[in-house]
Amino acid sequence: MILKGKVWKFGDDISTDHIAPGRYFHLRTNLPELAKHVLEDAREDFASKVEKGDIIVAGRNFGLGSSREHAPRIIKLAGVAAIIAKSFARIFYRNAVNIGLPLIEIKEADEIDEGDVLEIDLANGIVKNTTKGKEYKFVPMPKFMLDVINEGGIENYISKYGDYKI
């Protein structure tokens, strides 16, 4: 799968409280409404301006905090195709895989700027910055996770295979 999109830039330690703030707890059963506030506490204008296929690029420990799967779900619902970061928090990473949102870890995330256009080759582990003419390698996800991503999430995966195929 090749993903292509333009970059939104975020810093270190973007928590699930930045992504899906607790004050919208009551909207958790209404994801499209909750998605209107996605990442609001990190960047107020993000939800209104993000476009389908855009890519988030962030620093260290993206998604730290709670187990709320609503966080990656509303990022995906807002149209984001993938997230690149220097590192991810564990539960966020797992949730993103389960809902079919690709995550990529590259150390050089700082070299990518807002508005750059990227091409991501998930299976081969390559990120191309077509704006800057640079290329980065990353370790592709293990096969099981890649299978889940390719199916668009674990719901489709389990519906297809009936069980975890590991």
């Binding site: 330690d13 928590s15 930045h18 539960i91 975890y164």
Partner: protein
């Protein structure tokens, strides 16, 4: 080859010898969701067409917004109650308390695999269970299939040495560790704790350490079981659940940290990350507007006893609100029986029903703009307590109680009797 606690439990649950880095499918003993994550679990469970829950116990906790402050959440609660009516799942309703505390009192057994749609599910590691947080969809699958996929973590060992000084508690130890290794210092790893300090900690104090493993990014916070674990289980009427859990002597750890607690001071985390820690000597004097004692981190009876011992015969500072939330109905009842409520009420506290209280910013003590709170909870992210214009400081119940008296961050050792 010797195994860590994580590798031992996961090998048993996977039915084979597992190695770190490997992705496995493991049998789930206990599974939990809460009112924030559970409705989505129910939705996905139904989409799969599952009929009933498979784990020994599947528990739906209404704790984050209990009692409900608004109709959307009341409806969310009903989704969980209705699910419990049509399946074997159990509902833990308004007034029962926070999931992780109730799991420790009633359900978690050493050696179990517990998964929960709540990040602080890692609390169960304090009782020697592999206990970890994940998402709503994972829990739908854990409920329906009775198993989950897991990557086997490498383990970091934390050897706790020395003698814990007076006025310094397990909360200070874990804040100190997170301040040292960072909020991502143990990402994807299992943290395992060992050393002579464990013998100086009650079971309740140990749960505080495991509870905060996720604040260092860890998947689990594991503590070996011993006589203290056994006594705790007995006290809760389930001595037969005891099992010895410990790592093999030749277990392989990715890293070993040795921490001497003998000179540790009380620790405070400053906004807006848990690893932004300072010693009390560098923290005191910060004026605060609210003090909150409670949560799955520090809302246990021992915590309330410590707070009461400091507040006894004293009053809170007139400029602050003091909110106290026992973590469970059992804790609430004990505190009442022991006369702690008299002390709290006379000190000017507001005592709320067992549950998460103001921790997650849904109700009961949302901060005003530019207000500061000193809380015994486990995280202080921007906006966590309902207002991104507020500031959250984290500390032990002793530090919180002492600070409630003075209205500013205060060294609890000034108030020890």
């Amino acid at each position: 080859m010797g195994k860590t606690i994580a590798e031992k439990i996961l090998s048993e649950k996977a039915g084979k010898d597992v190695i770190p880095g490997e992705i496995i499918v493991a049998k789930v003993d206990l599974a939990l969701v809460q009112d924030g994550t559970g409705p989505l679990t129910v939705e996905v469970f139904d989409k799969f067409g599952f009929k009933d829950v498979k784990p020994d116990k599947a528990i739906l906790f209404i704790d984050h917004a209990a009692p409900s402050p608004r109709k959307e959440l009341s409806n969310a609660h009903n989704i969980l109650r209705n699910f419990a009516k049509r399946t074997r799942a159990i509902v833990s309703d308004v007034g029962e308390g926070v999931s992780h505390q109730i799991m420790a009192e009633k359900y978690v057994k050493p050696g179990d695999l517990l998964v929960g749609a709540d990040s602080h599910t890692c609390t169960g590691g304090g009782l020697g269970a592999f206990s970890t947080g994940m998402g709503s969809t994972d829990l739908a699958l854990a409920f329906g299939l009775g198993k989950v996929w897991l990557k086997v973590p490498e383990t970091f060992l934390f050897e706790l040495k020395g003698k814990l000084p007076e006025g310094v508690y397990s909360k200070d130890i874990i804040l100190h560790i997170i301040g040292t290794i960072g909020a991502d210092g143990a990402t994807y790893k299992a943290m395992e704790f060992t050393g002579e300090v464990l013998e100086q900690l009650s079971q309740e104090a140990r749960l505080t350490i495991s509870n905060m493993a996720v604040e260092a990014g860890a998947k689990a916070g594991l503590i070996p079981t011993d006589e203290i674990t056994k006594a705790y289980l007995k006290e809760n009427g389930r001595e037969e659940d005891f099992k010895e859990i410990k790592a093999d002597p030749d277990a392989k750890y990715e890293k070993v940290f040795t921490i001497d607690v003998s000179n540790l001071e009380p620790v405070v985390s400053f906004p807006h990350t848990v690893d932004n820690t300072r010693k009390i000597s560098e923290a005191k004097g910060v004026k605060i507007d609210q003090v909150f004692i409670g949560t799955c981190t520090n809302g246990r009876i021992e915590d309330l006893r410590i707070a009461a011992s400091i507040l006894k015969g004293r009053r809170k500072h007139p400029d602050i609100r003091l909110i106290i939330v026992p973590a469970s109905r059992t804790v609430y009842k004990k505190a009442l029986d022991e006369g702690l409520f008299d002390i709290f009420i006379d000190a000017g506290a507001a005592i709320m029903a067992p549950g998460c209280g103001p921790c997650v910013g849904v109700h009961e003590g949302v901060l005003g703009d530019n207000e500061k709170v000193l809380s015994t909870q486990n995280r202080n992210f921007l906006g966590r307590m309902g207002n991104p214009k507020g500031e959250i400081y984290l500390a032990s119940p002793a530090t919180a109680a002492a600070s409630a008296i003075t209205g500013e961050i205060t060294d609890p050792r000034d108030y020890l009797q």
